[in-house]
Symmetry: C2
Subunit: 520 residues, 2 copies
């Protein structure tokens, strides 16, 4: 059963499939969550629409449904529906400004008219935060897609907020740089959406968070005030560091329109390995050994369990090269930053790193494979990244995104499995290096809304209290949105929540920004 490092290097990956980076679950039926609106906003009227037309004087800037309610725009339905297809809003108007100034004019008007607004980026959010719950105006950033530039001397990218992450990846490549954030939704999500949710993703372990890497930010407040903090200085200690208020604020304080982001160099070389393990203690051992031994060269470390792996097999064409008989799998990425090495030296350096690691963990792992080329690298990454797609195809899915003490991952999953019994398939996967576990539990198909709701009652708020008992976080990275808003206060002290509400009150006194998101 002992693993031989040398054989690994020769093993060839099979079943590689390419995957579009922007998944789409639009085939799933909608679960419309009815939300009681306990605050009243104005109703949009034709004067409002005319006013907006005056601001945005191009035909393509607004998607408007007939206000009389006859006829409906199918395009508008995209703005009203979330990625998970769990929510369908009733907005009649999606505005698509192209500049900070236009955003300012829109918000100022909405604020004075008490019209509620939902900022929307790539609409890939997983917590029901990016779509209207009722008839809020959608303020889409998708025309604010200009990359302003990259300053190589300071490694700082300046960009409008509506640029798709993948575009930034492509743009920065010519300079040998990359964004400090990356995630499975890269083909659709905006950098502005990443900022608004403080997205984590696979690079956080190495490159730290968007709080760490955001050097400048422009945000527009509900009253139209433009907070321009785009003087992209590496260091600036003049007053409160306001940009951090907007990072992770989920569109409830204002609209992020521009950002300056510190970008790391693309490593000279990198490679990934996939390991199979038979129990969680061993997963922890590989985690420790990888951190210890690979140190600065460890650029990502992820895990998934057997049920996640089975879901991958059952619902995607993608195949796990290590098969389906193991309890746990880990993806380990190693990079070499020495950009003066030749290609061969690089291969050698990374091979040496992996061999060194293998030596330490050879008695721990059941099996392993190391990628031989970039398509195999992608194939290994797909084993991890396409799990989310698999669960959706299985059926209606409970999606949780917790921070927990790492050693509690298995017992936590067991408790959820106990609760759900045979009604759902439950898997755990995620950013283990950061203590971040994604728990997905899918019932079969999309037609048993009744069962889903019954199970939901079983799970919530119980599961959030459980997280609290373990001193974790009910959202490691996806945020609170509308789905977790009722439970948010379970996981934060009254004092913290109260200060957050005071700040919301100061910046958005009329409460027009993304109502019922974050705070219930």
């Amino acid at each position: 059963r002992h693993y031989k490092a040398s054989s690994l290097l020769r093993q060839t990956l099979v079943g590689r499939t390419s995957v579009s980076s922007s998944l789409n679950c639009a085939s799933a039926p909608q679960i419309i969550l009815v939300h009681s609106q306990n605050r009243s906003y104005s109703k949009l009227n034709q004067d409002d629409v005319n006013h907006f037309k005056g601001i945005l004087n191009k035909p393509e800037v607004a998607v408007i449904e007939d206000l009389e309610g006859t006829g409906s725009s199918s395009e508008l339905s995209g703005y009203n529906t979330d990625w998970l297809n769990k929510l369908k809003g009733n907005s009649k108007l999606a505005l698509r400004p192209s500049s900070t100034e236009e955003v300012s004019q829109i918000l100022k008007y909405c604020n004075s008219r008490h019209l509620a607004v939902v900022p929307q980026g790539g609409n890939t959010g997983l917590v029901g935060g990016s779509v209207p719950l009722d008839d809020e105006i959608v303020l889409s950033l998708n025309r604010m897609n200009n990359i302003i530039g990259f300053d190589k001397n300071y490694s700082i990218l300046k960009t409008q907020a509506g640029v798709v992450l993948e575009k930034l990846i492509e743009y920065l490549e010519q300079f040998g740089y990359m964004p400090p954030v990356d995630l499975g939704a890269r083909g659709s999500c905006h950098i502005g959406g990443n900022l608004a949710t403080n997205a984590g993703g696979i690079k956080l372990l190495k490159y730290n968070s968007l709080h760490a890497n955001t050097i400048g930010l422009t945000a527009v407040l509900p009253d139209g005030t433009i907070l321009d903090n785009m003087r992209a200085l590496r260091k600036d200690n003049t007053g409160y560091h306001l940009k951090h208020l907007f990072i992770g604020s989920e569109g409830t304080l204002g609209v992020i329109t521009e950002a300056a982001i510190l970008c790391p160099k693309i490593p000279a070389a990198h490679n990934v390995a996939l390991f199979a393990l038979d129990n969680f203690d061993k997963v922890e051992e590989v985690l420790r050994a990888s951190k210890d031994y690979l140190s600065e060269n460890l650029t990502a470390i992820e895990f998934f369990d057997s049920e996640s792996n089975n879901i991958l097999k059952d619902h995607t064409k993608h195949r796990n090269p290590l098969g389906y008989s193991h309890n746990y799998y880990m993806v380990v990425e190693v990079s070499n930053f020495d950009n003066t090495s030749t290609a061969e030296e690089n291969t050698k350096i990374i091979e040496d790193k992996f061999f060194g690691l293998f030596e330490k963990i050879s008695t721990v792992i059941e099996d392993g494979v190391i990628a031989q080329d970039s398509s195999q690298r992608e194939a290994i990454w797909n084993c991890r990244e396409r799990i989310v797609e698999g669960f959706f195809k299985e059926g209606m899915t409970f999606k949780y995104d917790f921070s927990l003490p790492i050693d509690k991952f298995p017992v936590f999953l067991d408790k959820i499995r106990d609760k759900l019994g045979d009604h759902a398939r439950t898997g755990g996967y995620g950013h283990i290096g950061d203590g971040n576990i994604h728990v997905n539990a899918s019932i079969k198909g999309y037609d048993n809304l009744k069962l889903f709701k019954e199970l939901q009652k079983e799970l919530e708020p119980w599961v959030f209290s459980l997280v609290e008992d373990y001193e974790g976080s009910i959202s490691a990275e996806h945020g609170i949105g509308s789905f977790k808003a009722p439970y948010f206060e379970l996981n934060k002290s009254n004092e913290m929540v109260s200060v957050m509400k005071q700040i919301k009150g100061v910046l958005d006194p009329n409460g027009i920004m993304n109502p019922h998101k974050l705070f219930d």
Copy 2:
């Protein structure tokens, strides 16, 4: 004139002296800046003192001057005087709580009684922020000096705010880790003071800021509310990220009492080199080459000019091994993170890095030296770090700490020299890798207050407007304090300042926290 790499390695450093890590300028006479108090607070009375004695029931917890004004405690004078000896407050009471709970009770009482409070850490701040301007109560953190612990699995240090930075360095060493921040004041400054000023220092280039590395933080608001955000999770996206409001808030929003800090591993090995250059274009060339070639292995890069170097010679026993004939000097630190290498391998790896760099810059530099052992490393670092001491010994000093486009450093210094003429010796040095220049200008001695004030009128606000013209920051890292408070708004938009004031108003409605600091 061309430099030969091999000779460098053999050159021995001379004139190494040890330097106490906590400098002290207490010999300088005091320049008492009279500050017009335009807000009225209550006067401390005996009831107040008795109340505090009730909270802090130990004799050593408070330093109290006779309230009748007869007799004065020399200990209290330390709390009233800033590190630069420019300010002398008139506080009668320094309270020294040992727990978050005690801080809460103190603030709650002060808030209800409208007694103003100055939080004080190690009192090494350079902008007149840490001492009373009038008779504010000093709330010193110096008894909150418990290190709570270090969790190696997550690389997270938990500590009370009053721990001296050097203690944390020593403590973490046993685990093979270090704080992500380091600066010349390490022997006196507190981690809480570092957080309150968002201190930068020599490691920021590699390890990023305290915003990046602070995982948890407890702060006490003026009304006694404890915001406990110490559940030290690597990732937590539940609501606004309030901790960032306190990082860099200079004691104006509340008191930081505990923190959880992500700490990097001590590199397996590191070494430093000192280069001499004859013009600033070449400094920039070395900067670019170092960043490019050394990449992740570059852990610090600093510069100083010839006047700073002369000041070092004239006022400290420390000698620059490259002499005094060059226009610019640079300190470059290289680290190796591969902690599986042997000591010899390490030496070799780092030597190779330096040789590789030398090859790229050999026609650029005038001279260079690489440290042969740890005492030579310290000696090279001292060339840079003891400059600040030199200027103080020269005389009364204007100290500025700017972010500027790097290529503007020389012209900026020239303009200041033009202004000051022969009245002062002006030098520039600092964290060039971050675009951060420290400008010091000293007049001779400490007895010509008149000249100092005349020159100050010439310099300020002119110099701050100049920074604004260059789109820089009037404080890269030291903060605003009281010295720059009148000029703060020159360098931030009205909109930014207005939002900051609104937040101050919400968290500190009675304005008891550190009055006239940050905001004039």
